[in-house]
């Protein structure tokens, strides 16, 4: 890293004009005067910084304004607030797809986008640049002496057999808060009935509900919770410092695989620079095998070889669970199972 001035400014919802909540705002200024790329993203700043710096090294003169938000906030920012961003990066594929379907994003074509497989792009508007599994993270200390669960059924069995050990120590996404959590949950529910049994079991144990994967990983590592269900595997893999305290399990009955996607909103003021950023992401993550986001072992080939990997299809089916009534029904069921009295 050169003599790049990195100014880190932690902004804690200081501006009341905004309808959306910004968790973190970081500026990556450029040495030269040039366009400013405004990025709204669900990705953790720490994880994403290397990409931004690599991008600036290749394209000097472009400064980057990085806003980290939760997945639901992107939609609010772009639809209701009409905020101006040049790029929206999100793990909530369904929301990204709806943005594109509703005509809120621009199309973009380049050599890099053309080299993507067709299932990794939609209408030249939504581009996937990672494949990340939904994993189960276990505390090593709490599973001392217990067989490690390999499937959801194993987990259900373990939870049922040792309710005292796990009471109040199960963590999962609060699907009402997290778009990603909702996506994981709805895909799980679509894939298997086991999900609802598991939800019933977890609900009975007084679970802790989270907004973000990183919090769940840290709480598991610290021993605050013993099991974190549906955590971004890539985040867990990235926390090498915690690996002596946690197990990262890809369930063998099925592992939901999510694609992180990027879109250029119609209101973008720097679509050209945004395009360059997309090229950079595609080239780095897909083809230079940097592996920063990819779960080890998940490649295009392994998807066809490993039948337990269930990638979420980038298609109109994603719109189904975004339907107001459908969502309402799902939430009712989920709350009934998860938030049990007493």
């Amino acid at each position: 890293m050169r003599t790049l001035i990195l100014s880190l400014a932690l902004t804690l919802l200081a501006l009341p004009l905004r309808a959306y909540e910004v968790e973190e705002h970081v500026r990556f200024p450029s040495e030269r005067a040039g366009p400013e790329l405004r990025v709204i993203s669900t990705a953790d700043v720490d994880l994403f910084t290397p990409f931004i710096l690599g991008f600036q090294a290749r394209n000097p003169g472009i400064s980057v304004d990085y806003y980290m938000v939760s997945s639901s906030e992107i939609e609010i920012a772009l639809t209701e607030d009409g905020a101006q961003f040049d790029l929206a990066i999100s793990s909530a594929m369904d929301q990204q797809l709806r943005l594109a379907n509703d005509g809120l994003v621009q199309s973009y074509r380049s050599t890099a986008t053309a080299s993507l497989p067709t299932w990794a792009r939609w209408r030249d508007r939504v581009f996937a640049f990672t494949q990340e599994p939904a994993a189960i993270v276990l505390s090593r200390a709490d599973f001392e002496g217990l067989p490690l669960p390999r499937t959801r059924q194993d987990l259900i069995t373990a939870l049922r057999e040792h309710p005292e050990r796990f009471q109040g120590r199960i963590g999962t996404y609060d699907v009402r808060e997290s778009g990603l959590g909702y996506l994981f949950a709805t895909q799980d529910g679509r894939s298997s009935e086991t999900f609802w049994r598991l939800t019933q079991v977890i609900g009975g144990l007084g679970p802790r509900l989270y907004c973000c994967s990183s919090d769940m990983i840290e709480d598991t590592a610290s021993g605050r919770i013993a099991v974190a269900y549906n955590v971004l595997g890539s985040y867990a893999q990235a926390r090498e410092d915690l690996h002596d305290r946690i197990h990262v399990i890809a369930p063998e009955d099925f592992t939901t695989v999510l694609m992180r996607t990027v879109v250029i909103p119609v209101a973008a003021e720097q679509p050209a620079a945004a395009g360059l950023f997309i090229d950079h992401l595609i080239e780095n993550v897909w083809f230079e095998d940097s592996g920063r986001f990819a779960f080890p072992g998940i490649t295009s080939d392994s998807l066809t070889e490993n039948a337990s990997l269930r990638p979420i299809q980038l298609g109109p089916g994603l719109l189904v669970y975004l339907d107001r009534l459908k969502r309402q029904q799902f939430m009712e069921e989920w709350e009934a199972a998860m938030v049990q009295p007493g």
Binding site: N101, G315, G317, L325
Partner: protein
């Protein structure tokens, strides 16, 4: 005024053009039909999927404890996924009021239990929508639930552009194949004409038999009229030759009679003025008979040269025989007619014409050269030609040049005292040309007299 369109002169071209134009039209019609059919099928298949999508949503719509419950199945939209990633919109209404989905999405008209379809403009794009409705009852109150599913038409456009490409290739391929067949058809028609022409032109000039070539039935009238023309031509030619022979006979016989009587009378009369008159009379007869003879000869030569009938001619024997025949005439002037010929030189030609040409040249030499002088006739082989040379020691050709003497009725200006019509050289020249040969006339170098050379290409 000039006509804007000229029909091509060749049958082959005209036929080919017509067939090719027909093929182009058929290819165009084929293209339009196939393309429209494909568009219809493509459109229908999109309609079917949209209807199935709407139906699957309606199937999951029910009344549960007095509330409308709509559980949109995942497949309702995933079935709309396609290679072109078409955008999908939907709307569910209850008695026209939006329950869920895109509130501004228009429904298709004529919706009922059977799906209604429509193409609408929505958010800047053409959308195909299917609407299906169903009546439910909430506590005895009927409600109308309508499901509208819409999809952009990019996939259809993609499929159509692919079909368009294939159809264009199909059309062009069909056209190319038809055009090729058209050319072949044109050629085959032209070939039967050419075969007929060949069978007519291959025959010899004397062959005036009717044409019997195998031809398509359409060409039979042509062959029939050709044969009738040949028959008339044959009759006309025979008539012409007969006429010439008859004319010669009619002219020459009385001349011969007069001449014979005049000569006999000359033998009997003694009075000098009568003798002079008789001599003049004989000269006049000779002049006119020679002129008539050469005119008739020339007519005959012209006819035969026009339709040359070639056969091998042994030139040496032919010239030798002619020289022998003319020797008595030369003897009358004490002229020494010498002939020397190289081996058997054979050429392709009409012996009667060649004979006539040589005789005219020999006649000239005997006539124009003085008595007691030799005439040398030689036949030599020079390169690829047989060359006949006739040299005399007479007055030769005038200084003004000999070339024009081969023209009709041209006579040397120094030959005034000798009977002649001037057609001899013309006949010889025509015969030479008809045989691709050459006649040259010149004065003998370094001596008195003329040198005439007649050459013919060897076989």
């Amino acid at each position: 005024m000039r006509r804007a369109f000229h029909a091509p002169r060749s049958i082959r071209r005209r036929l080919t053009l017509q067939l090719v134009t027909g093929a182009a039209l058929i290819a165009l019609v084929l293209f339009v039909i196939v393309f429209n059919f494909a568009r219809q099928i493509g459109s229908e298949s999109q309609d079917r999927i949209l209807a199935a999508s709407a139906a699957s949503i309606l199937d999951e719509t029910s009344v549960i404890s007095g509330r409308i419950a709509i559980d949109i199945p995942y497949s309702a939209f995933s079935m709309l996924d396609n290679a072109s990633d078409d955008r999908v919109f939907y709307r569910i209404t209850r008695d026209g009021a939006g329950l869920t989905g895109y509130d501004d999405l228009p429904a298709a008209a004529q919706a009922g239990a059977a799906p209604g379809f429509d193409t609408v403009r929505f958010r800047g794009e053409d959308l195909r929508v299917a609407t299906l409705s169903r009546r439910l009852s909430i506590g005895g109150t009927p409600v109308q639930i309508a499901v509208t599913v819409g999809q952009t038409r990019d996939a259809l456009a993609d499929v159509l552009s692919r079909i368009l490409r294939v159809t264009v290739i199909l059309g062009i391929g069909f056209f190319a194949a038809s055009a090729m067949l058209a050319v072949l058809a044109g050629q085959s028609t032209a070939n039967s004409l050419r075969r007929l022409a060949g069978s007519v032109s291959r025959r010899g000039p004397q062959d005036l038999r009717p044409v019997v070539a195998e031809v398509p039935s359409e060409m039979r009238p042509l062959v029939a009229s050709l044969n009738s023309l040949i028959a008339r031509l044959s009759t006309a030619l025979t008539r012409t030759e007969d006429f010439i022979a008859e004319a010669a006979h009619r002219v020459r016989t009385p001349l011969a009679t007069v001449r014979a009587h005049a000569e006999n009378t000359l033998r009997r009369v003694d009075k000098e003025e009568n003798r002079v008159a008789l001599r003049e009379m004989i000269r006049a007869i000779d002049e006119s008979s020679r002129a008539a003879g050469q005119l008739l000869d020339h007519a005959m030569v012209s006819i035969r040269a026009d339709q040359l009938d070639l056969s091998p001619v042994a030139l040496n024997a032919l010239v030798g025989e002619l020289v022998d025949r003319l020797r008595p005439v030369a003897d009358l002037k004490d002229m020494d007619l010498r002939y020397r010929g190289d081996g058997p030189l054979e050429i392709l030609g009409d012996p009667i014409l060649i004979q006539n040409a040589v005789r005219n040249l020999l006649d000239n030499a005997i006539k124009y050269a003085p008595a007691d002088t030799p005439i040398r006739v030689t036949l030599t082989h020079q390169g690829r030609s047989a060359v006949l040379t006739i040299q005399d020691e007479g007055i030769g050709f005038p200084e003004s040049g000999a070339a024009h003497l081969t023209g009709r009725f041209a006579r040397g200006e120094n030959a005034a005292g000798v009977i002649g019509s001037g057609l001899g050289l013309t006949i010889a020249d025509e015969v030479a040309r008809a045989h691709h040969g050459k006649l040259t006339v010149a004065n003998t170098q370094g001596g008195p007299g003329a040198c005439v050379r007649l050459s013919f290409p060897l076989r």
